[in-house]
């Protein structure tokens, strides 16, 4: 819970990690390259006092996570988004099992999602069902740029992807978090394109598709599909830290999201340990869209901030919110709900 000016905000951090990228766990140069790339995001977009040494960043402890998110942190509930990367890390980067072990110790604070990879076919489908039952999963995190043998990625609108999504429907795994990365099959296509999410979201109207990073670096493609699919959401991981280093750009992105998809489909996330939630939350509650942009992009209200910080994810994950932190009325509020002709 975060309190400011007498108002209490219920905080759900929709994207956190408990990873092991230590040299001992790196399987090859790609594992080293991956964490170094993450570290540059961390160093480039964090306030100086929040920058960790590389060694701690490669592998931090359970105590660090609990401390940063909940002890000094304002987070009420945090959701693990596993990222396996088994081709890069011996034991995986962060798996459902590693996250689940922490969830069992702190069930009142943590939720873990699972993951599937359609390239694992029929065998994988059975393993996925067992994973869902073992951990009581409500959601999955899908990383379409995951490498698997010779394959450098996959798409959501393929036969086996649909088979797994059908299984999600059947098992009540409602929240599908989609994260795009720099590779895909086939490699000549734009790997960050989110149009496959558009197809899957139309095909599975009962599932919620939370596009991580709001589709960055394809904000325009994300907004375009999200206006047309009521079950598509924007996760703010990676968008949030711009509030510190480039607040005008952050204002543009938030203004655009409020316009295209509305306040009920935007969800807060820190992407811990890439960034610490506290400074993001403090700055967000104090944030306003810069005055010179307001005639076009409007402003953001405290109620809207409350929905984004926690109430929207609480709705998706069935979390109980103290009544004094609720906001009345959750009707769709996007202005741009009619399809555009793509220029």
């Amino acid at each position: 819970m975060y309190e400011s000016n007498g108002r209490k905000y219920f905080v759900v951090d929709g994207h956190v990690h408990f990873w092991d990228a230590s040299p001992e766990n790196q399987a090859n140069k790609y594992g080293a390259g991956f964490i170094n790339c993450f570290y540059d995001y961390h160093r480039n977009l964090s306030p100086e006092e929040y920058v960790w040494p590389l060694e701690k960043y490669q592998k931090y402890t359970e105590e660090d996570l609990i401390h940063d998110l909940f002890e000094i942190g304002y987070v009420d509930k945090a959701i693990f988004q596993p990222t396996y990367l088994k081709d890069f890390y011996v034991n995986g980067f962060n798996t459902t099992e590693a996250n689940g072990a922490l969830v069992r110790k702190h069930p009142d604070k943590l939720i873990t999602n699972g993951a599937f990879d359609p390239r694992h076919g029929e065998e994988g489908l059975k393993a996925f069902e067992a994973l869902v039952r073992e951990w009581g999963l409500q959601g999955v995190k899908l990383y379409t740029a995951e490498w698997y043998g010779a394959s450098k990625g996959w798409k959501l609108n393929e036969y086996w992807s649909y088979r797994y999504l059908e299984k999600c429907e059947e098992l009540g795994v409602k929240n599908i978090h989609v994260h795009k990365g720099p590779t895909i099959w086939p490699l000549n296509r734009d790997a960050f394109d989110v149009h496959d999410v558009d197809h899957a979201a139309s095909h599975f109207p009962e599932l919620n598709f939370i596009v991580e990073h709001c589709g960055l670096p394809r904000l325009e493609d994300f907004c375009w599909i999200a206006t047309q699919e009521p079950n598509v959401y924007g996760g703010l991981a990676v968008v949030m830290p711009f509030i510190h280093s480039r607040p005008a750009y952050f204002g543009q992105v938030v203004g655009e999201l409020l316009y295209w998809i509305g306040e009920d489909r935007i969800t807060f996330a820190s992407d811990y340990a890439i960034w610490q939630p506290n400074w993001l939350i403090e700055k967000f509650v104090d944030f306003q869209i810069p005055e010179h942009m307001q005639s076009e992009l409007g402003t953001i209200s405290d109620d809207q901030k409350a929905k984004i910080l926690g109430l929207n994810l609480a709705r998706l994950y069935g979390l109980e919110v103290p009544p004094e932190m609720q906001v009345k009325g959750t009707e769709e509020t996007a202005i741009a709900s009619d399809p555009l002709s793509v220029p």
């Binding site: 490699l187 000549n188 734009d190 543009q252 316009y259 002709s341 220029p343």
Partner: protein, 230 residues
């Protein structure tokens, strides 16, 4: 003999296709060496995992641009610190296409990808031109009747004409000043929606370029923009 300055000048025409900015202004060119008719250029990118398709286009375009210079017989472009540097450098060095650089992983060449991002770049530039015209007192409805020759002079208008020619959309002085991605003139009725979306595309591209610059600075510990070594 070709000079480093001439090579640099040739590279000024090579863009990151995703960001619509030149490799030189983005700080991607780190070294140019001229040895008689042989030129060697070193390139770097903001992350180890930048998308290989765009990386390939930059290396291939750089080679082509340098080899158009009179006096250059061979240009060797070396992309460094990238997970597919070897595949890309080898393929471009041999004169091979993208599908040969990544056998089995690509279904086709990169013409469609390039055209997709040329359309995004055109849309973004048009948004800036429209906003400049509106700020100068042009009425919204007048935007659809303007002609190419009436575009406010500058880098955005030059690049719009270039992109339209590259996309085969035509950029004659009497052609409509603003067009949709398939080259159709803008209709008055669709103008507000066009403007809204075009501004979003412009913000997206500018934001990505800003992130890339920041990551490059962090990755290579650049406190201020570097000059290309001459």
């Amino acid at each position: 003999m070709t000079t480093v300055a001439e090579v640099l000048d040739a590279l000024e025409g090579v863009r990151d296709p995703e960001l619509d900015q030149t490799l030189v202004e983005l700080g991607f060119v780190t070294d140019i060496a001229v040895d008689g008719a042989a030129v060697a250029v070193r390139l770097r990118l903001p992350t180890y995992f930048c998308a290989p398709n765009f990386a390939y286009l930059m290396v291939a375009d750089a080679r082509r641009a340098v080899e158009t210079l009179g006096g250059v017989e061979m240009a060797r472009i070396a992309l460094e610190d990238h997970f597919t540097a070897e595949e890309i450098n080898d393929a471009v060095g041999r004169g091979s296409g993208f599908t040969e650089a990544f056998p089995g992983e690509a279904q086709a060449g990169l013409d469609d990808l390039r055209a997709l991002f040329q359309r995004k770049a055109l849309t973004a530039r048009q948004a800036r031109l429209c906003d400049a015209l509106l700020a100068a007192g042009c009425g919204e409805v007048d935007l659809v009747t303007l002609r190419v020759r009436e575009l406010p002079p500058g880098a955005d208008a030059d690049r719009c004409r270039q992109l339209r020619r590259e996309l085969g959309l035509g950029a004659d002085p009497d052609a409509p000043a603003f067009v949709t991605g398939d080259g159709a003139p803008l209709a008055a009725a669709e103008l507000p929606r066009f403007l809204r979306f075009a501004r979003l595309v412009a913000r997206s591209l500018e934001g990505n370029a800003g992130l890339c610059r920041g990551l490059l600075e962090t990755r290579y510990d650049l406190t201020e923009p570097e000059e290309v070594a001459e």
